[in-house]
Symmetry: C2
Subunit: 269 residues, 2 copies
């Protein structure tokens, strides 16, 4: 199982990319999830070389999306930015661009959801031509106004169904979906469209909803059941640990990494 551990860069945000790569090499971790801001801080070409030489795989690039717009200019900028994100994923050898679809635009909730569909429709051929998959990540319903109008796996699955199954799928993050009474039905339905799986725990109550995610075992998510379900749906890829947590970020990176590794071994199977 531990071979499936992938470290999302934002779990150890205190590190720059070279430190993360080195830390993962030392700890036998085989893949990482990277973020555009952290890549850009190093430079795309340098990041590409570093990753290639390290032998560490990229499980995903975070993030594209934010499709709903309130002006034509915003729409144009978003299209260009998403194409750049696909280009970056291709350059880095990331098989996947994670889509955080974006919150409500001034036109309202239904229109915003339609803008997401249109945005993905526009991006799909561009991504397909470059061999990059697009993963729709439903975010917790508390983020619907400002981060993602796509709030359930049912919704993400229905959206993905409009597009080619080899290019558009879903990213299932336990933190965002664990509460959902339809979760297990929808994991089974997603099947081969599960492009990535993320884990972090739900603290009771969360000290902060955005940056108060917990280390696995500190909260109440039933990971055993969750992992069994994604495995049962046929998912064999990496399990990415993505924890936004101020306390974890305040630790030396090495300590944060070994905590994550330990908790992953203990709880994620």
């Amino acid at each position: 199982m531990s071979d499936r551990l992938s470290i999302n860069h934002y779990s150890i945000r205190q590190w720059r990319l070279p430190e993360l790569v080195e830390g993962c090499q030392k700890n036998g971790i085989k893949s990482i999830g990277v973020w555009r801001d952290k890549i850009n801080a190093v430079g795309l070409e340098k990041a590409r070389q570093l990753l290639q030489e390290s032998g560490i795989a990229v499980s995903s690039l975070c993030r594209g999306g934010f499709f709903p717009y309130s002006s034509d200019q915003e729409r144009t900028n978003t299209i260009a930015d998403n194409q750049r994100a696909v280009d970056e994923a291709a350059a880095l050898g990331s098989p996947l661009l994670v889509l955080v679809c974006g919150g409500m635009a001034s036109a309202g909730l239904d229109c915003s959801r339609e803008m997401v569909r249109e945005g993905i429709a526009g991006l799909t051929p561009y991504a397909q031509a470059r061999g990059v998959k697009l993963g729709i990540e439903p975010l917790h319903p508390m983020f619907i106004a400002n981060r993602s109008v796509i709030a359930t796996l049912e919704q993400a699955n229905a959206l993905a169904d409009h597009f080619p199954a080899d290019t558009v799928g879903v990213v299932i993050d336990a933190y965002h979906v664990w509460w959902d009474p339809n979760l297990y039905r929808e994991i089974a339905r997603a099947g081969s469209r599960i492009f990535a799986v993320h884990v972090s725990d739900w603290l009771v109550p969360p000290p902060d909803f955005l940056n108060g995610r917990g280390l696995m075992g500190d909260g109440c998510i039933e990971f055993g059941k969750f992992i069994t379900a994604v495995n049962g749906a046929g998912y064999k890829g990496p399990i990415e640990v993505e924890i936004f947590n101020e306390q974890l970020w305040s630790l030396p990176g090495d300590e944060a990494l070994s905590l994550i590794k330990k908790r992953f071994a203990e709880f994620v199977h």
Copy 2:
């Protein structure tokens, strides 16, 4: 429309019951939603008299529920407490007891949901015999660990379907359900089982998730669409304003009440 305005006591928590009743009389408000702690602070019999003499109707009593348990003792206490809540509703002439079903018990999410079903099954004949309806209120998914394992209207409807339609129904609070892609389908499905409707707004982002609800018009909820849907489903009862907001609580009660009245007239139709 303004005849449908009901003030939930917790919107003006700075007032005791006598002040709330007086404030509502002055402002021509015809009904209020009461809370057990505020009733008990005055005494049940005195509260009953006060309400009866005032001519103000009680739209609901908050709250019963919290069914999931981690010990037999806890289960026994919960049953007794819910029966007391039904008795109080009957004494006050409240047609409805609102059920906040309770968060996860140590047995996990599925078991906790089953405990809610059992709890309602046990309470239903008791409530029916006393002429009190039970309203299952789905809470926002961010409260699932500590307040309600019932998180969507779909789930509340499915749960209510197990019980007699004249006694068990749902309470639809815009703040808790507005994000749900299946909301309008489920409002239509609920139909005559809609026992109460609550409103408050979702601020972007909420300053606090529990006590940072907004006055209607300060957030992003599309009330026009929401009210049209509950009306379309056949609901003709009061619209209860239930705002948990530290800022509103810091105002003199009269000011809070006139703000609520103004915003209700402006946004809730």
